[in-house]
Symmetry: C2
Subunit: 643 residues, 2 copies
């Protein structure tokens, strides 16, 4: 097969590919990340590249104009390579992972993982510390009595006997690979060894590793939240139960599709599943490597990892075909995963290390939600509370220590900055707070990182809409009033409002909000609000029955609660009922790597949550339609707004 060399600028990365390969596919192979929100279907128009040199073939699509093609602008996903090429990736298409990797996201991580967010574990008794310590993987140093002619117990049974003597546990297993090494290892270490073990069932353990000498203090693990957009990880000392370091970066799958549906579609392409799998496992490996290097920890001393993620993310991590998740009746292959070997899915820790995936509830209510419930403790409280997690997907869980019910709010990614004109993720340069002068409509704003504005993130949109309502710039259905201001102008589809003029920002265009944008946000907030009310109605409860309202997700960290109520995203409850809990998926995963009880609880939570399919819930559409106003058609539901 003919091979062509493709060079990508400005990174200068190059790759040899077969004739007919798409530019998007070549870019992924070369490690050049291009936005591809729709998963390579030619729909989103985000993956535009400029051809500098060479022969390509492309397909017509509405996402690119004839004029662009005349100017050598192509969609990477629809354009195939037929000679050596030189290609430029415009800044607008680039997903520069290296730039945004950790530094930019560190800001939000600091907020996620404040001191108060560290989980507080009850002090362990000394007697418990040796063995009843319930981390996912535990180490135990053992000095064996060497054999003699009066005690000829075999090496393995001698080890088992010692473990039983120390722990009281008599059901012990291990694999052939450990048995093969045991004879020499015991003798060369003078019968002093450290075992690493996991608890399989009650009073049943499996030894996953045997090492010479005392290695009991070197036992580390990682917990991860695999978000559709962001991958967040923490390095944990499993002995001291301390978080040593945190890191977040884009989920590299972002370049293969912005949401779970486009990724499931992408997975159906040849090698699609494998690429998605590699994208996430490489990301995990990168974080593991970075943090262990920074702390001078040997990868072999990392013995376990816990991953929380939505159901599709977990399927992709494990290279399980997710196709049935998006086909009616929306069935995942698995919600409750067995404990796996990390190596089975390409995660590079100790080769005997294990991977625990947090159990999920349904196709659109995953382990990240289970972890969230565990983290906020909603399942233990006698009084009823609500958890909403607004990420790329929105999820809502309602309940108490007697019942749990949850649903997926098909909010869409508007609050993540997708599908809106000047939208961007909550990273550096994103407008996150807005005030509008009610007379001249001048806009004051602050950006993440305090640099020139590049666009607007979710919390910025909420502030913006609330302020526009305050100033009479928009009406209750979201139309921009025809007021006399240089900031208000007409476009093809209606009015738009200029938030930042090009000259005042870092964007190549004015930063604007259009009536179409407002409509998108309105639908997103209506979906979340009506999910809450539909759940309540389903169990015959009212908003007044809700004692706590937990808000999870990176989004929540910047959210202005009064403004979120003003636009009707959150219900009009006393402000002190709202609690930000940050990345509760990650906190829950961290509890699970540290505590056996947390893993037992997580299983129980996932089993207990009744999943409500909103699309077949008759009242949902009424609730949703009623919420398509700012804040709502029924203003009695928003008394503070009414007064």
């Amino acid at each position: 097969m003919e091979k062509f060399k493709v060079i990508f600028y400005p990174s200068n990365k190059n790759i040899g590919v077969d004739n007919g390969t798409t530019i998007l596919s070549a870019a992924i192979s070369a490690g050049v990340y291009i936005n591809s929100v729709c998963g390579g279907d030619g729909v989103c128009g985000k993956c535009k590249i400029k051809l500098l040199k060479g022969q390509v073939a492309t397909q017509p699509t509405g996402s690119i104009t004839t004029k662009e093609i005349e100017n050598s602008i192509y969609l990477a996903c629809l354009t195939t390579i037929h000679s050596d090429l030189e290609i430029e990736i415009p800044a607008s298409s680039a997903l520069d992972l290296e730039k945004t990797n950790s530094r930019d996201l560190d800001i939000s991580l600091k907020t996620f993982y404040s001191e108060s967010d560290e989980i507080i574990l009850p002090e362990l008794k000394d007697s418990e510390k040796t063995i009843l310590d319930a981390a996912l993987t535990r180490k135990l140093y053992i000095e064996l009595t060497p054999p003699n002619l009066d005690d000829k117990t075999s090496d393995l049974e001698r080890l088992y006997r010692a473990i039983t003597n120390i722990t009281g546990i008599s059901l012990i297993q291990t694999g052939l690979i450990n048995i093969r090494l045991l004879g020499e290892l015991l003798r060369s270490s003078d019968w002093k060894i450290t075992i690493t073990f996991i608890e399989k069932n009650i009073n049943q353990i499996e030894i996953i590793l045997v090492e010479p000498g005392d290695k009991s203090r070197e036992n580390f693990g990682f917990c991860f939240d695999i978000g559709t957009t962001t991958l967040s990880g923490q390095l944990i000392d499993l002995n001291t139960k301390k978080v040593l370091s945190s890191r977040a970066q884009y989920n590299k799958q972002v370049s293969l599709g912005s949401d779970v549906i486009s990724r499931i579609i992408y997975a159906q392409q040849p090698d699609g599943l494998e690429k998605l799998h590699l994208a996430v496992s490489e990301g995990i490996n990168q974080i593991i490597q970075e943090l262990t290097e920074a702390h001078k920890i040997n990868l072999n001393d990392v013995t376990s990892i816990v991953c929380a993620g939505n159901t599709t993310m977990i399927h992709l991590l494990l290279r399980i075909d997710p196709r049935h998740i998006r086909k009616e009746p929306y069935i995942p292959t698995v919600n409750f995963l067995p404990l796996l070997k990390a190596a089975e899915v390409g995660i590079k820790i100790n080769p005997h290390g294990v991977l625990y995936c947090v159990p999920g509830v349904a196709s659109y209510l995953g382990g990240d939600v289970t972890a969230g419930v565990l983290s906020c403790g909603l399942h233990k409280q006698p009084k009823t509370s609500i958890l909403i997690d607004i990420g790329t997907n929105g999820e809502v869980v309602l309940g108490n220590n007697e019942f749990l019910i949850g649903c997926a709010a098909s909010a869409g990614p508007a609050f993540e900055g997708s599908g809106v004109n000047s939208g961007m993720r909550a990273t550096k340069g994103a407008i996150q707070k807005v005030r509008i002068n009610p007379k001249e409509f001048n806009v004051e704003f602050s950006t993440i990182g305090n640099i020139l504005p590049q666009g607007i993130c979710g919390s910025g949109y909420i502030d913006l809409l609330a302020e526009m309502l305050n100033c009479g710039l928009i009406n209750k259905i979201g139309k921009i009033n025809d007021l006399n201001s240089p900031r208000i102008r007409k476009n093809e589809f209606g009015n738009e409002f200029v938030v930042v003029f090009k000259k005042d920002g870092a964007s190549e265009t004015d930063i604007v909000i259009s009536e179409i944008d407002i409509d998108n946000i309105k639908r997103a907030k209506a979906a979340i609000y009506s999910s809450v009310t539909t759940l309540l109605k389903h169990v015959n409860l009212n908003l007044t029955d809700v004692t706590k309202f937990y808000i999870a997700g990176g989004f929540g960290t910047y959210l202005d609660i009064p403004n979120a109520i003003k636009i009707g995203l959150l219900p009009d409850l006393p402000r002190d009922k709202f609690l930000f809990i940050g990345n509760s998926s990650l906190s829950g995963a961290r509890q699970m790597i540290l505590s056996n009880q947390a893993r037992v609880d997580a299983k129980e939570i996932a089993r207990k949550i009744a999943y409500l399919e909103l699309s077949v819930e008759s009242s949902y559409i009424d609730e949703y339609m009623a919420a398509l106003f700012f804040p709502h058609t029924d203003l009695t539901k928003f008394p503070s707004f009414n007064s």
Copy 2:
């Protein structure tokens, strides 16, 4: 590295090898089997070859004469290759596996596996047949209810739920590989599938395989006895619980050492362990392939295998270094193996198939003995019995349903035809029965296969010695009397007796028995007899307390009991107390593949047998010395011989 071509005659097999390779090693690689009793140490002198052409280098040794080297006769183990070679393997050195593979051993197998030897299982109730059938691997056909919007259980939990509904078992596991395939498999098979599962603990199963459609009737397994000399296997239909076919062949390790000690030594050579491991796993694979082909059974339908063998054989099968077995205090790495994947040790059945190794007791009391006890039921009987298994190693177990005690009798391989002048294994051409005319000392004999005699096997030696005692040819210490007969002549070390003159046999020399041979056999029989009496003494019992005396091993099949008592191999008990049980290791393994209860019992037996180390038992040496007579120094112990 320079490569040389070596051709072996008469097989015409050839191989390319590196400069400096030993001829023995080249022969093994070429699939040419050469006797190498000492494991390639240049001691036994059994691996003589004739160099027809080419350059070699050799080392001096007492096992080969200068004259032989002048005649181009070399020891294969000590001679290295330095040019292209042509080599002839003399019949005396050849271990022609193809010839002896199955046909010759079929004779003994027929005797081992008579109709009465088939285990009789209680009839299963219909309700039990679907699931409570307790084969090691079981299949279950399941028709699942497809999901719908009201039943959105995931694929895996749907499967688990169905299994729980059918079996009542709720602890169910499976591996990632099965989960990955599940989604498509369930849908393409219209939700009709067959699972193969194993029971892990009580009420806990693991699914090892999921197949489309109804495959519940195609479930096969193999049981093996891995003897030091002979490998015997049976193909079992796990559904009908019938033995479909049996096969035995040499354990290919024979060419790397004749007994466990020489193999343990060989395992310390570079690649030695690997070669020993491959020799046995290839043998197993050969039998599996032959028998499945003969029965037109797909290898994928073979889901489990049970192996019984002595502790060293099991270590070598699993590629576990056995070195500590022969070093004081003689500790094996493992007696109780976990259930393994057959593929982990290179056994070619279904890639998900499992391997169960029968648990052993100690370094020199292995799973073959556990299987033997299980097979004869000694552990269940209220009255005390004895089991002796005389193979390349001899083992004795004494006990009843309250206690079990066992020991290894260091009998040596004399009864297997090793270490004795005209000795041979119990295959075609071996003298197995002998009568001597008391006047002229003419010898009448019968051979296995009724062909011209080539040598004498164990049962032949027992007959021969008993007859020589009867005729006054030997005295009670085993010296051959100086009688006037052409059959009695002097050699370097004393007298010898000609059993068959060269002209009457198929051997290149006279078939003789020397005083050294008699001494070897005397020591072997004394070791076995004194093991029995030492065990009895240890628990304060007498021979009269023994109600049954089980004799296991291929050897036992031809044994003449009165003659064995006459020479003092067996104690002088009423003849009806002796029971031949054939290859009880294989019968026990077969029970274990068919019955969960048998596996539970085997574990219990292995735990229960107290191992008596004869070398540190003070009374043993006295017992042994007293038995170094025909039949014994204390004739009151042999009243029938006395009368």
